[in-house]
Symmetry: C2
Subunit: 180 residues, 2 copies
C-alpha cells in the first residue's frame, strides 16, 4: 500500500521546492535521505520524473542564465510548477500510518522544515508508537528464543532491541524539543 514510488515522488517534490535540480543530482540527494544503502536506481528515478512532468507537477526549467557556469549541456533541470507547489503543500499537511514506516518517515523528516508544527508532532508520535510495537514484538521473540539458548542469536536479538530503544530515546528528545 505504501509503494516506494510514492515515497520517491514525495522526496522529489520536496527537494525541488528548495531549488531546481536535474535527475542525477536528485538521485544523490534522495539517497542521502534514505541512507546510502537502498539508493534508488535510475530505472526508478527517470520514469518518476516523466510521470510527474506529465501530471503537470514539475516542468523542465529554462536553461540557467549563466551559460558559462553550466557546461553540461545534456542536463535536464526540473522545477516545481505552481500546481506542484500546491500538491506538495497538501502532502506536507497530511499525516497518518502511511507516514510512519522507515522510508516514508525518513522523507517526511527530511522535509520537516517545510512541515506545519502540529503535523510534525503527529508524525513523530506515530513513529514512536510504531517503534514501541516493534520493540514489544522483538522482546517477545527474545523471550521465546531464550528456551533454546543460543548465545549468538540471543546477542543479536538483544542488539536489535537496544537499537530500537536508542531510536525511541532519540524520538522522545525530538518530541520534547518540538513541544517547546
Amino acid at each position: 500500500m505504501i509503494r516506494r514510488g510514492d515515497v520517491l515522488n514525495f522526496a522529489i517534490l520536496g527537494l525541488l521546492s528548495d531549488s531546481p535540480l536535474h535527475g542525477y543530482e536528485l538521485r544523490k540527494r534522495v539517497s542521502g535521505i534514505l541512507g546510502p544503502f537502498r539508493a534508488i536506481s535510475y530505472g526508478s528515478l527517470y520514469p518518476a520524473l516523466r510521470t510527474l512532468a506529465t501530471a503537470g507537477l514539475i516542468e523542465e526549467a529554462a536553461p540557467s542564465s549563466e551559460p558559462a557556469l553550466v557546461s553540461r549541456r545534456s542536463r535536464r533541470v526540473y522545477a516545481l510548477t505552481s500546481e506542484g507547489k500546491e500538491h506538495l503543500q497538501e502532502m506536507l499537511a497530511s499525516y497518518g500510518p502511511d507516514t510512519w514506516g522507515d522510508e516514508p518517515f525518513a522523507v517526511r523528516m527530511a522535509l520537516f522544515s517545510l512541515t506545519p508544527t502540529d503535523v510534525r508532532l503527529r508524525i513523530l508520535e506515530g513513529r514512536r508508537s510504531l517503534l514501541e510495537g516493534r520493540l514489544a514484538t522483538l522482546q517477545e521473540a527474545l523471550s521465546q528464543s531464550s528456551d533454546r539458548i543460543d548465545r549468538y542469536l540471543l546477542g543479536m536479538q538483544q542488539h536489535g532491541i537496544e537499537g530500537v530503544e536508542r531510536e525511541l530515546r532519540w524520538l522522545n528528545e525530538l518530541i520534547e524539543q518540538e513541544r517547546s
Copy 2:
C-alpha cells in the same frame, strides 16, 4: 545476486538442523532472526519448502511418536535429509561478500553455533568492512548536506551515523571475543 530466497533457504536448513519443524513455526523463527518487520510471507515460505523437498534436502518427517501431544493433524513437519545435512555443512563453511549484507549476515550469525570458528571470524570482519564503507558514505553525505543547513535532515543523518558506529562497536566486541 543475493536473492532473498537464498537467505530463506539457508535459514530453513539451519533451523531444521536443530529439530524438525512445520512451516508455520518455521516462519516465526525466521522472522525472529530477520527482525519483526520484514517478516517473510507464506507466499515465499511454502514454495521454498516445496523446492527444498523436491531437491531432496528436506523431507516430511514421520508423524510424532506421541500422538496425544500432537493434535494438529494438518501440520506438515519437515526434517533435514542426510543430503540436506551435507549441503548445510557446505553452506556453513562458506563465506564471502554474499554473507555480509544485512539479511544474510543476520542468518549467518543466528547459525554461528554451527559455524566453524575461522569462518565466523571472516564473516564478522567482512561485515565490519562493509559497515566501515557505509559509515564513510554517510559521513560524506552529511558533510555535503551541511551546506544547505537543515536541522532536521542533519539530525537524522547524524543519528544514522551513530547507529552504524554503534553496530561497529558491537562487531568489534564480538571479534575480540571470538579471538579469545
